[in-house]
Symmetry: C2
Subunit: 185 residues, 2 copies
């Protein structure tokens, strides 16, 4: 984090501009355009974020942290409903950052990275919601938080290809919940 107040301001303005640009043009939006939106020179962008990867990671970390807080806030109330509500919010967040480049996926897997730590914290928070739902008997007991998050993320991604992505997502979530098999195999 920068210490001078103008720098701190630029840092935030750049993040906001980047979120906008990535939402509009996908994950490889022009960084020059981001700097233009933020009203700073291209050099300033690079001083704060030495590569596109750094920008994406910063945004992703914000998302993870926000979702972790939301999970904590949902820790009361009906276990099953709390989990479903949180997964829905996860789905919305997932939608904003599509097509992460390989470099970010690597950082996500790197156990030393701050990104991994934020992701881990979110998974832990979500895991507590999962555990409650499992204890109540609403969800099969052998499912890990990792697997559940991957499952939901995958279905969100797949839904985007459908004409009516919202309806498709609801349907796929239901199928995944009940199972593809018909139970008496």
């Amino acid at each position: 984090m920068p210490v001078r107040s103008d720098a701190r301001r630029n840092h935030q303005v750049l993040l906001d501009a980047a979120r906008e640009a990535f939402a509009e043009h996908g994950t490889d939006a022009s960084l020059r355009d981001v700097a233009r939106r933020a009203g700073v020179g291209i050099g300033t962008l690079y001083r704060h974020f030495p590569a596109r990867e750094a920008l994406l990671e910063a945004l992703l970390r914000d998302d993870f942290d926000r979702l972790a807080e939301r999970a904590a806030a949902l820790a009361d109330g009906d276990p099953r409903e709390a989990l479903l509500t949180w997964l829905r919010e996860l789905a919305v967040g997932q939608r904003t950052i599509r097509g992460l480049p390989e470099s970010v996926m690597e950082a996500l897997r790197d156990e030393e990275s701050q990104l991994h730590a934020s992701c881990q914290a979110m998974r832990d928070a979500g895991g507590r919601l999962l555990a409650r739902a499992q204890k109540e008997g609403a969800v099969r007991g052998d499912l890990t938080a990792n697997e559940l998050l991957a499952l939901v993320a995958g279905l969100v991604w797949a839904s985007e290809y459908a004409p009516d992505s919202g309806a498709r997502l609801d349907r796929l979530l239901r199928v995944a919940m009940e199972g593809v098999g018909n139970g008496h195999e």
Copy 2:
């Protein structure tokens, strides 16, 4: 399709080079690099494929057509096994072309496009395998081919983020088959 033999050769060489480059550097590999690999001028690439989109669509159509043929070839044998085998091959194909740009996804949704037609033919072929498995009672009856393909594609995508993507995929497929819920909710 070009008529002169040198042009027809270039067409194929360009497709091969593109498949290589996209596999290595993702869907936004350098087109200049593709032309270099193919050993032709950059202008020739543009004469055959007026935009990156055209290149991606041509490759995708090949994949769809190949998978449709495979489905037809699997139409004998045990219904459940045939469907699972085919879905596994679908998963492998899915892996090769990751991060399709929005333009291609639009073409995929456009019912007039050749890409849509190829995709439709593949879905129909897969749908026949699905129908057999449903008739046998191995798969719930209300699932459409569209939904099944979306589900599998999503799980493949999600598996890529795991350290051991093969194991993760197997696990997610199993969970989706049996259901996330524990059956007595």
